[in-house]
Amino acid sequence: MTATHTPAAAKRPTAAHSRGRRPATPSQRPNWLGGLIGWLWLAVVIIPIYWIVITSFKTQSNYYVTNPLLPPSDPTLDNYRLVIEMDFPLYFLNSLLVAVGTVIPSVLFSFMAAYAIVRSGRTSRFLRGVNSLFLMGLAIPLQATVIPIYLLIIKLSLYDSLTALVLPSIAFAIPLSVLVLSNFIRDVPKELFESMRMDGATEWMTLWRLAFPLTRPAVVTVSIYNALNVWNGFLLPLILTQSPDKRTLPLGLAAFQGGPYGVNVPAVLASVVLTIVPILVLYTVGRRQLLSGLTAGFGK
């Protein structure tokens, strides 16, 4: 949710910056304290990540004797081979299915609800109530309700299935998605809705033809945010599944580390790297789409 706003906010001042001349404003004088903390924090963030990556290419015996911060002298792919042979591709597939199965319905449902709330939130008491309900959902730690969810899933005979993970994840994703999407739909100029209506478009058409394309960056952001939450989710898979072939990646990671191979730290870290790579790809792709979406949004 930050990501959308950051580029949006960044856009205008940057443009203004390059154009007009500017007196010596604070940002032009060096901010030593901020800079020091900024670079220091970079080290704090990067060192563990660097360590994960280099260690994942070390052999187990080398791991114990070499300097932990130096790259391996004889890099090996054995750890990755071991991890891939250990069912990680299956965990990967499970995570992917749960993420896609959650994100598509939750974002579509949230978008429709957000559209309805913005378009008649003032006049319809029902929609006002729905909006308040979702806002309340933001304040409540929904994880506190996992035990009734566990019971519900058992009663629905969905225990130990991927569907069991998808259904509550959709519900958990809705409040924030509706909030962010409705904030963005609210920014669509009223005249555009009016002219769609003049052209005889139905609400359904206006939703997909006007509101959806104009708020695509927000849709992308919300999707990425939800995908990330589900991809990294741990509690729901932990309590709603049981068999090893239903594990998602975080659960697989924890099981791998707690299992017989857990002493092989480089292999454990290789599994960590493998779970990060897809998200890094998504993040890279998403960032670009976010920026292009913003510039294209009001192009014509």
Binding site: H5, T6, A9, A10, T14, A24, T25, S27, R29, G34, I37, G38, L42, P48, I52, P68, L69, L108, F109, S110, A116, R119, S120, R122, T123, F126, L135, G137, A139, P141, L142, Q143, A144, T145, V146, I147, P148, L152, A171, F172, I174, P175, V180, G200, T202, E203, W204, M205, L228, N232, F234, L235, I239, L253, A254, Q257, V268, L269, V272, I276
Partner: protein, 306 residues
Amino acid sequence: MSATTTGRTSSAVAPKARGGGVLPWLALPALLAFVAFAVIPLIGVLLLSFTSWDTLGTIQLTGLESWQSVLSDPGLPHALWVTFLITALSWAVQTPASILIGVFLAGHQRYRELLAVLYFIPLLLSSAAIAITYKALLDPNFGLGAGLHIDLLTQDWLGEPGLALGVVIFVVSWQFIPFHSLLYQGGVRQIPRSLYEAAELDGAGRVRMFFNITLPQLKYTIITSSTLMIVGSLTFFDLIFVLTEGGPSDATRALALDMYKRGFQANLMGAACVIGVILVLVGLALALLLRRLGGRDPNASQLEGA
């Protein structure tokens, strides 16, 4: 779907008019999903707290029995205290650091944008992956401290109660400072530059500008960020579960973990639901308190500062 209705369907124009018509139906799927798997469980957690259930047998109504047993258990004040410590200390670490980094990132130099991209990485990792990494990194025998022969870093980080709590707070900060820095970055960029220019003319220095302009202008961002931090830290589960499992000797057994352990390890679902209800109430109370501090219409874009 929209392609099929391209033609002029003038009849559809009418219902739009006053709130009724097709719009409420559009909200229905989201409402149904939310009611089924959030509202009903929310009611369920309250109802189940008056029962006893061991996950296998039948659910029996036992009135206030679970409440009595949980409320008289010294484990509850301990879990509340641990949760409070983690929430308060991680807030106290994260907020100043995030504000400073956010202000730093708000500058428009290109390298700062690169830094922002790198800062974001911890947020992409799962808590499980982060916990596993730190567990290996802090290992007293084979971790970073031992490998580099730095005695200060060679502690039994996860084996001593005080240290383990410190590690949890550090790792939480490591994971979430990036996110909050980005909130503050956005907030700082929305502060009108004219304020700084005016202060500059008055001869105000950087530090005074920070305290007299930046901080007050960030009020709503601070409230948004604090709400997310505090409500979020109530439910820290994955990280603690993988990192310490609540140990050593329950030193990091926060409420969410306590709920899990009572429910899924001790098979006392009624008692676990009591903890669940307490979590919901605490979360709700804190959110209302923070909203009151904000004193703003909850419908007005909460992410404005974001």
